[in-house]
Symmetry: C2
Subunit: 237 residues, 2 copies
DNA sequence: GATCGCTATTGTGTATACAGAAACCGCAAT
DNA sequence: ATTGCGGTTTCTGTATACACAATAGCGATC
């Protein structure tokens, strides 16, 4: 077992380009670098503590991720998020997740989903426990996504899903948390899990379709409210 | 109209990194750089005539495209294509194209598809005209894809589709051309176009599903034959 | 007072130099 | 003969220096 270092987080000193990439990516996802923010090479390189060469590599990866766009001539800037782009992202998300869930239900390996089922059954109780409970609920969702990814066994599809989730993370920051919605979402997830366990691809697909439909409605609704009350100046469009 | 230079191909001298990217990408797609081929920085930089810095940027983009993978320590190599990966790619392709076609049919702007319809009606005649006709048929397919992309109006979805098409281009090189299949494919395309024109998303989606199903069967069949007769040593797995 | 042009500054694009790490080869020892 | 060890070499990762392009600011002219 000589891969033990890979199991742990990060014993190995990361390459400078990797550090720069993770830091910038993290700062964009959590909103520290707001949409539209300008990225100057020298400035960012100094701030992060790497030279321009690895920083450029990091920015190139961010551009490939769609988190950053190059401005003609004058540096780069963080991609901004419009309401339109949220609906567009969900059009892609729906295609990918429906396919992924359908395949997961087809594979007929219910073991990991049986454990998740137990967890999601008790999710409503979790959501009564305040912020810490909500956080543990999100961890549960991550585990569900991981289980689906593992069941799908398709690097192309999983890769595309990961890209979508990256953008979703930014959107979730804009949409206020709605406890009612989370409770409803939990039961929608439970239905999806049950369909996977039952090996019913069609049911799983339709349940996913509905779940994402409700999710988008909820996101758009909270954003509409907030933009009406001026809470989210980030969303002009 | 000061964007006229953008309309033409390439008046502006391209950046070295862009040149390197396009050249390497092209060579990978047309098989000149075979799957598994090693890419050494210095060697490739000299060959293309750029220095290592822009070449590294180009390779980084190729890695993001999934055309190249980094080998631990010793350079990079061109991603290889397995039969499994073809089926996996089609699982993703199906999700994306079905969604794209469905959306295109929903948008209800039949104008560009009416022109394409005429072209596809005469496609069988085209396919009787040998290699030049086959080439023009492929151009037609490109135009159909472009029309769908334009109708969909969704950068996320179109971006994911482009990534898939990149990998498809490599696979097409492996699958021998089958005139019978092309003729069948043309009529499948016609059905899809008609469904879009009719504004029938469900019909369009199902027609696409079937088209891709047949396409995958055809690809896998020709590859099986070839690997049995040893024509395609690239496909070991 | 406004507009045009020049210049200075700033920032990117590229090349190259240097350091560190990993693989290869040869040698020796078991 | 095989395996382990060390030197050597080659390649990557990073920093830095230089050249070119673009922009902004300022001044001059109309």
């Amino acid at each position: 077992m000589y891969t033990e270092t890979a199991m742990l987080g990060l014993d190995v000193p990361l390459r400078a380009s990797e550090r720069a990439y993770r830091q910038l990516r993290g700062e964009i996802l959590n909103g520290l670098l707001a949409p539209g923010a300008a990225l100057l090479e020298v400035e960012q390189a100094e701030r992060i503590g790497v030279s321009r060469t690895p920083l450029r590599e990091a920015v190139a990866r961010l551009i490939a991720d769609g988190l950053v766009v190059g401005r003609r001539g004058r540096g780069f800037e963080v991609t901004d998020i419009s309401v339109d782009s949220i609906s567009e992202l969900y059009e892609l998300r729906q295609a990918l997740e429906v396919q992924a869930i359908r395949l997961a239900a087809t594979r007929r390996e219910p073991a990991p989903f049986l454990k998740l089922r137990d967890a999601f059954v008790t999710a409503p109780e979790l959501l009564d426990q305040g912020d810490i409970g909500v956080h543990r609920y999100y961890v549960l969702i991550d585990e569900l996504e991981d289980a689906v990814d593992a069941a799908v066994e398709n690097p192309f599809l999983v890769g595309a899903l990961r890209a979508v989730r990256t953008h979703l993370a930014r959107i979730r920051r804009l949409a206020r948390r709605n406890p009612m919605r989370l409770r409803a979402a939990a039961s929608e997830h439970l239905l999806i899990i049950d369909a996977i366990i039952a090996g019913d691809p069609s049911l799983a697909a339709h349940a996913t379709h509905i779940h994402l439909h409700q999710s988008l409605l909820s996101v758009l609704a909270t954003i509409d409210e907030d933009s009406a009350t001026g809470v989210n100046p980030a969303l002009v469009d």
